[in-house]
């Protein structure tokens, strides 16, 4: 009885963080499908989302739920600008775009260090206390994180499935030139995709801000997880990103029961190498 409860509890804790990493990975994958570039600075947009939550809810005293929306909009707008000024013009040179994203990573981290300082900052949870049931325990804030992330994923799905701009976005991802011939403003759509992708990362950062601390280096962990997730699921595939996130969540929550933390981390990276070598389209498509 003890062992299954232990594993279930580990799964529950893992799921509450993994679902946020899925948000980050979805944004990364969306950007890749439209732009063909891998945005190494994606974790820094996540970090900016965390700081938006900190300054709005802790310093300015705004309602935490409102800061989630604000983080999505502010970081999304920043992403839109970055696409228009930097990645859009570099779209035809993937290598330059990739190196520029590495530069953006350094730049955003340095700006955050200069503006916000290196001291970890805590964001108070809007949902204190814990919930119990079936012999399991979970803090209410983690429960909220899970529901909010699921809602965001559902929103993204509806936008892409039924929204007019979502349709345009899928068309550009499929065939850029044809989409342009059909009268779609492909430049605007690229900016929009980048903005939505970064906005998701910003919301994810704001969501996890009460769970972890906020610091200029907080983006390093989720970006690596997001890479692993989109490689497991297939780059550019959104259902794949969700599936990849679930697999990684399973590995990370159950793995430490049997192996050391370093070995679990090693397994994630090894999964990247093995999958890229033998199945670069990911496990989702066959």
């Amino acid at each position: 009885m003890l062992v299954p409860t232990l594993i279930l509890q580990a799964l529950l804790n893992g799921a509450s963080v993994a679902i946020v990493y899925i948000l980050v990975a979805l944004g990364l994958s969306l950007i890749f499908s439209i732009m063909g570039i891998i945005n190494f600075a994606h974790g820094e947009f996540y970090m900016f989302g965390g700081f938006t939550a900190y300054y709005m809810s802790e310093v300015a005293g705004v309602n935490y739920l409102f800061t989630l929306v604000a983080a999505f909009i502010a970081v999304g707008a920043l992403g839109f600008l970055v696409e228009r000024l930097l990645f859009g013009p570099l779209r035809t040179q993937p290598l330059s775009g990739f190196i520029a994203s590495l530069g953006l990573l350094l730049l955003m981290q340095a700006i955050a260090t200069a503006l916000f300082g290196v001291v970890d900052k805590a964001v108070h949870s809007p949902f204190p206390g814990v919930s119990r049931g079936y012999g399991l325990v979970i803090s209410n804030e983690r429960l909220f994180v899970m529901f909010a992330s699921a809602a965001l994923i559902a929103l993204l799905y509806s936008f892409l499935r039924w929204g007019k701009q979502g349709l345009a976005l899928r068309a550009v991802a499929q065939e850029r030139d044809s989409a342009s011939l059909l009268g779609i403003n492909v430049d605007l759509v690229s900016g929009l995709a980048f903005g939505v992708g970064c906005g998701l990362a910003g919301a994810a950062g704001a969501l996890l801000a009460p769970v972890f601390y906020v610091s200029p280096t907080m983006g390093e962990q989720p970006i690596v997880k997001a890479f692993i997730i989109i490689i497991i699921g297939g780059m550019g595939s959104l259902p794949g990103a969700v599936a990849g996130g679930i697999l990684l969540g399973l590995l990370e929550s159950i793995g430490p029961i049997f192996f050391s933390v370093a070995t679990v981390e090693m397994l994630g990276f090894t999964a990247i190498v093995v999958l890229l070598l033998f199945k670069p389209t990911g496990l989702a498509k066959s």
């Binding site: 890749f32 330059s96 990739f98 190196i99 530069g103 730049l107 090693m266 890229l276 670069p280």
Partner: protein
């Protein structure tokens, strides 16, 4: 045209070598000697990284090859008490072999897949030295007390590799040999095949160039040079840590290379020396370093994708054309 390029290249090499060789006579300031030593060590890394980037292979695990050289040499010296002059070729060869293995594994991948996999390999190597075989590689604390290079010489004539000046001359000697090899390579059969691959891999393969073989040879050579830099790094500093071979130092190296431009053998030299000297003058503004590195990477990619040297060549080509047009008109 190739003769003038040839002459220019060799003139630049000789000039730089003379300046570097006479530096310890010009100044007795050990701080400057230390900075120059770091610059020469970074030159080995930047020039070998340019070699692979010139073929379109952004190898983010380049710094790991340096790390392998450093850790293997330090472990051999500390565990088995081997001489520096024995661990140097062994460790550099191990790094070269790992580069060869990396190429053999990954060269089938293109574009973003290649740099993602090298990023994963960078993380794996760092994690390996950080968390495994702690009794050999020192774990999270790293290795402390890596011995200095053994003295070299015959009989009573011995050069002790202890003070900063002799270490400077040691890395200077490595740099001279490596640069001579790299210059010679540019004009060799392999170098020309690489130039063809760079222009169009499809055409190069169609005329019978074995592109995978060329890339493997270049990767192996770059791994060996990075390994030598790593061995020097370990034994000259005496302390190594897995974070010395992580993402941050890799990005710095990348800045050195792309600022100068990958198209020319002297690009990384201009980038490395130029940026290192600028940062020495801005030493008090140390906290701005990361900011400037990031901004420079973005600006170079956006405005001068060919780097400083490439932009200069492009400008002079425009100038020549303009001169010629004026001549025709007259």
């Amino acid at each position: 045209v190739s003769w003038t390029n040839d002459a220019r290249s060799i003139t630049a090499f000789v000039l730089l070598a003379v300046v570097a060789a006479t530096l310890p006579f010009a100044t007795r300031d050990l701080y400057i000697i230390g900075v120059a030593t770091t610059i020469l060590q970074n030159l080995l890394l930047a020039m070998s990284l340019r070699l692979v980037m010139n073929l379109g292979l952004l190898n983010l695990a380049h710094i790991s090859l340096m790390g392998i050289g450093a850790y293997v040499s330090a472990a051999l010296a500390m565990q088995l008490g081997m001489s520096f002059w024995l661990t140097l070729p062994i460790a550099a060869s191990v790094a070269a072999l790992m580069a060869l293995a990396l190429g053999g594994l990954t060269l089938q991948l293109h574009g973003p897949y290649f740099f993602l996999i090298t990023f994963a390999l960078l993380s794996i190597t760092q994690l390996f030295f950080h968390s495994y075989f702690e009794n050999i590689f020192g774990g999270a604390t790293g290795l402390i007390g890596v011995p200095r290079p053994n003295p070299i010489g015959f009989g009573t004539f011995k050069i002790q590799m202890v003070d900063k000046v002799s270490l400077y001359y040691l890395i200077f000697a490595f740099w001279i040999v490596a640069t001579a090899v790299l210059i010679r390579l540019e004009y060799s059969r392999l170098g020309m095949q690489c130039a063809a691959i760079k222009q169009s891999e499809t055409v190069a393969r169609a005329i019978g160039i074995h592109s995978i073989r060329c890339k493997l040879l270049i990767l192996t050579l770059s791994g060996f040079i990075a390994g030598v830099a790593g061995v020097f790094f370990a034994h000259s500093r005496g302390v190594i840590n897995a974070t010395d071979f992580g993402v941050d130092p890799m990005l710095r190296l990348l800045v050195f290379v792309v600022v100068g431009g990958v198209g020319n053998i002297w690009g990384p030299v201009v980038g490395t020396i130029g940026l290192s000297v600028i940062f020495e003058f801005l030493r008090d503004l140390h906290f701005l370093e990361t900011l400037v590195y990031g901004a420079v990477l973005i600006a170079v990619m956006r405005l001068f994708p060919a780097g400083v040297i490439g932009t200069f060549q492009w400008a002079s080509a425009i100038g020549n054309r303009w001169q010629a047009a004026k001549h025709d008109a007259a």
